[in-house]
Point group: C2
Chain length 418, copies 2
Amino acid sequence: METTERIRAIAQAAKQASHLIAVLPTTLKNQALLTLADELNKKKPLLQEANDKDVRAAEDKGLSPALIDRLTLTDTVITAMSEGVVEVAQLPDPVGDVVTMWKRPNDLLVGKVRIPLGVIGIIYESRPTVTVDAASLCFKSGNAVILRGGKEAFHSNRALALVIQDVLKKSGMPEAAIQLFPLIEREAVYELLTLEDYIDLIIPRGGEELIRAVVEHSKIPVIKHYKGVCHIFVDASAHEEMAESIVVNAKVQRPGVCNALETLLIHDAIAPSFLPRIVSTLRKRAVEVRACKRSLAIVPDLKEAQEEDWYQEYLDLILSIKLVSSMAEAIDHIEQYGSLHTDVIVTSDYSNAHAFLQKVHSSVVMVNASTRFNDGNQLGLGSEIGISTTKLHAFGPMGLQELTTLKYVVYGNGQVRE
Amino acid sequence: METTERIRAIAQAAKQASHLIAVLPTTLKNQALLTLADELNKKKPLLQEANDKDVRAAEDKGLSPALIDRLTLTDTVITAMSEGVVEVAQLPDPVGDVVTMWKRPNDLLVGKVRIPLGVIGIIYESRPTVTVDAASLCFKSGNAVILRGGKEAFHSNRALALVIQDVLKKSGMPEAAIQLFPLIEREAVYELLTLEDYIDLIIPRGGEELIRAVVEHSKIPVIKHYKGVCHIFVDASAHEEMAESIVVNAKVQRPGVCNALETLLIHDAIAPSFLPRIVSTLRKRAVEVRACKRSLAIVPDLKEAQEEDWYQEYLDLILSIKLVSSMAEAIDHIEQYGSLHTDVIVTSDYSNAHAFLQKVHSSVVMVNASTRFNDGNQLGLGSEIGISTTKLHAFGPMGLQELTTLKYVVYGNGQVRE
């Protein structure tokens, strides 16, 4: 078969399968997910054998230890993956909920019902765990999914897909509900991105370059976030101890992720005491600080931040610090350099907390808490499929509910329009 | 100024204005809208003078009477436009509503708050009434808007924009909150469609060709519907009188709009009595019927429908009719030829009503009511900005609420992540 025809056939099969799984009873979906969780544990040796091929190839190519770490399916990783599937089975099924219904003057009853989006394409890098996470979330929310993982994880993903396909088959469900995209050329993916008649949503997960390429080529709606330049603003009235523990947690607990802190904004009034304190604590935790000129007047031996530092998502033990003379200046900074991801105020002032929550336009705005809580699980959505910093459809972490949409249902008894 | 710079300046100004109007108190927004409603009435002569230029040019070019009708700002049209603005002022302000809030085990309070989308671009054809409708809906929902109407309505739109700008200025609000796109070349619009850093949503309103061109060129999310191929399925158990009045209303009351009926599906069991009856009634109303081969066995002098008829949005007094042997066949037909717009079952069977509502994937699915009710106003949303048949963000008619999104707000008291 021609590549183009083959891609179209995958998308068409997904569309067809999506109609079937859209109306599957919750119990059947949950049973299939629990079977999958079992099978992942049972097939551990087989999965690890396939994974070894990927890991050895990555080592031969000299890929980074961080990448190889994310690629490797250890016993612990497979167990966690299986537990994740059980968790998804335990989450409430959003499909079919009537979220609101009202009566019109002519007695029409108008309701909005939650339905799956249809077919979702997930394009990601070399993390085989995403294959199982994404498949189970899409399946539970009644969506068909087409998975396109990074080529470094090709054997691992193929082995995982075989396990998944086998479970679907045994459960009497359409295998096309969860498909692995078989081709590894990027150009083939671009073809997939034009099939708007079959695919309802594309979610790219990975580096900014990958995401920009997807947006560039897609005719299908894309939900994404380019990066997470997260801020904490320590207000004049902040409790210093609380501010310190939040800043350290946000920067140090896991620096390589999108909800880690990148820029700290400190109110002038608290800077003389708080700046030396936080710099000293951060240094003990091996964090490199790059600070604005005015900070240097308080702590002279700091490295000076450059204009480009304010745009940086370091994803590393580096923090930029800037003093501001007001909350308004902090908000302007966030507006100019931020990425609509996660921004925090630490304050004990009621009206500043209120105003910050209202005026900062990011998808998650917090008072007195670590940026690291911007995560579907931490916020109580259950497992997450990703984080959106685009305002359309979903803004912030996306759980099962964000993989659905609302259709109108109207109950009449013969009404016609005047 | 270069065209490119000029377009960027418009978009940038809109973004800046959007931050201000996002947090405007409801009363100030309503006052400005009521002033606008007054001014539209007061400036009637001025508006009509500008409109005359457009109408005369359209007549000279020999444009269709339907287009000229939509273009003309009669006294009645201006009064209705002004009343529409008053209605928008009276609608509840969706901005700032906390739609849900829950507590996490660590005492974090997590809420979702309704916020404006930001900047919306509306691209439409030569209906000057859309200029005022769209401006007032976007303004009320706290969004800045860039309006690009058809070139045939250029003078009318400019006059309307002057009235709007004047009201904004007098009310002390940023004039860039509502801007008319000054250029009439389509290529300039394509440049606008790439400015994803400033514009959050594009809504094209018009013919399928316009909409496809916008989707093709836009990097910004687009909400749209290509067409409305609406179906009514008359089930075996339908009350014939009810079915007749719904079908006639759906086809005849206003045939040129997207929620008018295009294809009638009739269950075999009721066809021998219902088909001759409905054909005779439709003929009296000057409707041309194109029917499937099997219909011809019951009413021999019908014109036979061709395969392409099932895809047609006639927007005219033409109806295609097909007999089906089951509800499943009706649903398959809708799936294959429909446009996810509006589909109706007329039935007196409870379980068929239930199953039809569940299995048909369209944005509005109805039982025993006319397709013509798919309209924001008729369904109780207030005025509508458009209808979406894309599942992302909004599916079906879009009112004020669909011009907003939800951001997360998190209230902590020092929580850090373990």
